[in-house]
Structures are given as C-alpha cells and as structure tokens.
Symmetry: C2
Subunit: 302 residues, 2 copies
C-alpha cells in the first residue's frame, strides 16, 4: 500500500530523481509530480520517465500533494517555500533533503502555513554524480535518514514521513537540528572540504605536472577526487549555511594536522605510529555497521 | 619465457606476496624464494603456497637469485642490504618497492658490491590491507612502476627489471629519485596523512559520539577511512624518510585550507564555488587515464 497518494518533488537532481525512482519502483506513492525551474532538467526527467506530472511552476504541483519534498541546494529552500506556501494542501507534509538543518528551518519555517506539517529530513546518502540521470532506486537502501521535526508538525506526520523513508530503504533517526549540523559537519562537510582542498593543492603544484598527478593517483590521491567531483552549487550552499559547525571542525582538523606535521618534522616515529594505529578501528566499525564495503580499494579493482 | 630464473623476495606483505603470486601465475620467474624475519609470516606464506623456498635468513635465499627485491618498510632496507650484500650473486639485480627513493638509495647504495646492479623501483599500487594473504596477482595490472636507477646499474639490468614489471602488468617510467619523492609526496603521502588526520579528528570529538560518526559515515567520511586503515609501520617509515617533501606538501595544503576557511568565514560563495568547480576535471582526467573507475561511489554500492 502506498504511504502517500501523491508526492511532489521540487528539484530532480541525484536525490530527487532517486526518490522518484524508488517511490515508483516500490509503489510508495501513487502519483509522482516533479518540478524543476530548469526546463532542460525537467525535459530530462520526462525523457527518463521519472514521474507522472511535470511543471516548471512548483506551485502547480504541490496543490494536491500529500508530501512535498524540496530536493534543491539548501540556499534556495526559503525562497521556494515562500512561493509554494499558499498552495500547500491542508494536512499535508512538507520536507526537504538538505545536508544542513538549522538554516533550512530558519529559512522555511516562517513561510509554513498553519495546518501544514513541516518535517525537515536528511537522507545521508549520495554519490559524486549530479543530475536526474544519475539517480537510482537503491540509493537509500541501508542508509540512515535523519528527521529534525519542528513544532509545526503533528506526531502522525513525523511517523508518516518516517514510514516513507523506511519504504525507501532507510533507517530513521530523530535528532535536533543543531546536533544534526554538528554531526554532519564532521561526517560529511569536513571530509568534503578536505577533498576539495587536497585536489586543489595538487592542481597548483609547479614542481609536479598535472599529468604526473594523474598517472600516479593510485598511490592514494584518486580517493580524494571522488568527493571533489561533487556538485559545486550544493556544496557552496552547505558551506554558507553551516558555517559555524564547519569552522569549528576545520579548526580542530588544522590543530591536529599541526601536531602531525610537528611529529614529521621532529621525526617522532612513535607518535606517528600511534596516530596511524588508532584509526584502523574506525574503519572496521564502519564495515561492521554495514556502512562500508570490506573489499580492498572499495572493491573497484575487482 | 621467464624474465628471471630465480627471484628472491625479502618481505612478503601485500606487495611481496602479490609479486610472488603474479610471478608464478604468469611464469615470470622459474623459482621464487621468500624470506621474512617473522617465522609466523613465513609460515603463512608457505601455507598460501606463495613460493618455492622459504627462509627467515635472507642471506640464504639471495645466493643464487638473479633478482632480489626488498619488500619491507623503507626504514629497514639499509640494514637488510648490509646483511645480504656479501651473498648477492655477481651480475644480479637488487631492487626494492619502497614509496620513497632518495632515502632508500642513501641507505642501500653504500652496501651494494661491485658487479651487482642496484635499480630501485616503486610499483604505484596497493590496497589498505596488509599481510601475505591480502596480496593478489592482478595488483600491478594497469598501474605504473617507477624506476630510479643508480650509477651501480648496467643498462641491461634496468631493461630487465623494466621487463619484469611489465610482465607483472605495469607500465614503466624512469625518473630521478628526488623528483619521484616530490611526485609521491603529493599523489600518495599527503593524501595518506590527511586521511589519518581526518579520522583522528573525528575520533576525538566530544560533542559527536563515535557511533554517530560511524552511522553517518556514508556522508563522505567513510572514504577517508580506507587510507587510514593502512599499515602504520609502513607509513611511519615513509614519513621519516621523505620528510622534506612531505613537509612542503603539508605546508601548501595548510595554506590552501586557510584560504578556504577564510572563504567560509566570510561567506564568500563565489570563491567557494570556483574552488569546488575546478577540481572536477582532475577526476575526469584520472578516469580517462584508466587509473580510476567511473562508477559512482567507486562502484561499491552496485
């Protein structure tokens, strides 16, 4: 049985198109409506047959939707909410998929009409690919989806959204938005910035050519390039909207890196050995938790 | 036809055991002799049937070997060479697989007897797994092997070692040791240290629990944990033996990270967008060069 009769997806990139696919494949919604402000993206979604309705005007597709999910970069969710607010169906649920939550709530909450349930969500899943064609139905399987409910949400609405994401394959966790933003700053935003930075540093070297960087990337560098190939608009917005938590994690990272650098400079082998030993356990735990593959090199050399 | 009649591998971890496997599988050597100072590791190699001769005394297996390869952490190659030097066969080749080359040459060259060819090598390949059982015969396929020949090497010996590595599946590049160490500092050593550091920073957080770090690692963090699970002894030695180049790369990385941090603090979206855009091309180039898989998430979610 469908969890919702009609869902409306505003934005149809990697996440939006994956929701559309899994919702249809597993019959989680009877009708899937898709909006994108870009006619080209919308045409692409139509060619891929991702939905049942298509409209560049988001207000048109939310009217009779039971669940509206904003699947855009987090910088535009306030503006979109202000545009669609008057068209939301009483008793419906509005949600999002953004990687930051405090700012999303600040942007959206003032526009939410009484009688509409606002339940922000963050499916912690993704790939480095962007756009409708790169979504896939199993993206959320075995991943976590974090809900950060607002006062403008009935308990039943929170449960219904949880049911929806469970039907999409995910496990549900509920936490407050501030804590979410700190957790994601370390598990996602910092690794992302570090990846961008290391690739940028390599790109700038004068003494080593780019072709050398590419040829010998199997020495470890290529790992960083995956995250560094992610959507720049999405990540710019994350940085702008989770500034404080990101700055804290960057500061901690830099302090730790200075300590490591000092150990290298002073040839302090024991300290380096200890630093390089304790990190093994975390990967083991991530593999045991089913969040990572155990095959060497992520299995890519198989 | 075998490239060498007998090869002797001193050290039988991931790289040594992979050489043993590919050499036998492709009949690159008629006889494979293996030494490890650890009886347990040697027994493991024997159980895996990796070679034809086993001896904890390296001097015993090099006597009639045409090619001797040191496959140990780079911190011990000088000592090992001093022990085996008098037993090396005239006209034979001695090589290594270390990720640093200047220090390896400094450590080994003084011990190399006249009439023995010393050709340091570095197969740029590996996984995060350690030990004899994790080696595999295809590890070097489609990877680069860098030779940094010394004055103590006939041209024919350099060619023969190149033939050997080509038979193992690799392409050959020849460069001077100083340049090698700079190239690897950026393509391998820096990414490795950054991975260790980011995992260490996450492990230390008080506000976010380790179980949260593990649960939500699919947001990007899990990528870093692969390199951070690598052999600590090997990487301690790399840091101690490529200090100057690593310190230079760390300094550059930190400068660049400060610039990125400043852009976050000042909410400079345009600068962040530019930083996040130029890095996409490098991954594309690495994929086009056949050094990386194009599947999303390294293909691990397939």
């Amino acid at each position: 049985m469908a969890v919702f009769n009609k869902i409306a997806l505003i934005g149809v990139g990697l996440i939006g198109s994956s929701i559309a696919r899994v919702a249809r494949e597993r019959a989680i919604a009877n009708t899937i409506a898709i909006s994108s402000r870009s006619q080209q993206t919308l045409d692409e979604a139509r060619t891929l047959d991702l939905g049942d309705e298509y409209n560049t005007d988001a207000a048109q597709i939310v009217k009779d939707a039971d669940l509206v999910i904003l699947c855009t970069p987090v910088g535009v969710v306030g503006n979109i909410t202000s545009i669609i607010a008057d068209h939301l169906k009483p008793g419906s649920i509005i949600s999002d998929v953004g990687s930051v939550k405090v700012s999303v709530i600040q942007q959206m909450l003032p526009h939410i009409p009484d009688g509409v349930n606002f339940v922000p969500a963050h499916p912690v899943a993704g790939t480095e690919k962007s756009g409708p064609k790169h979504g896939f139905a199993t993206l959320f399987d075995n991943r976590w989806c974090i809900l950060t409910p607002t006062p403008k949400a009935e308990e039943s609405a929170i449960e219904a959204l949880g049911d929806f994401w469970q039907a999409c394959g995910s496990s549900i966790e509920i936490m407050d938005a501030e804590h979410h933003d700190k957790v994601l700053a370390i598990t996602s935003h910092l690794p992302q910035l570090i990846a961008y930075n290391i690739v940028g540093t390599a790109d700038d070297l004068e003494a080593v050519t780019n072709s050398e960087v590419i040829k010998y990337s199997a020495g470890g560098f290529r790992d960083s390039t995956r995250l560094a190939a992610s959507d720049p608009t999405m990540w710019r917005d994350v940085c702008l909207h989770n500034k404080e938590a990101i700055l804290e994690m960057l500061a901690r990272f830099s302090e730790d890196l200075s300590a490591m650098q000092r150990a290298v400079r002073w040839a302090d082998g024991d300290t380096l050995f200890d630093m390089f030993t304790r990190t093994r356990k975390i990967r083991r735990d991530i593999i045991d938790a089913g969040q990572e593959i155990d095959a060497p090199n992520f299995g890519r050399d198989d």
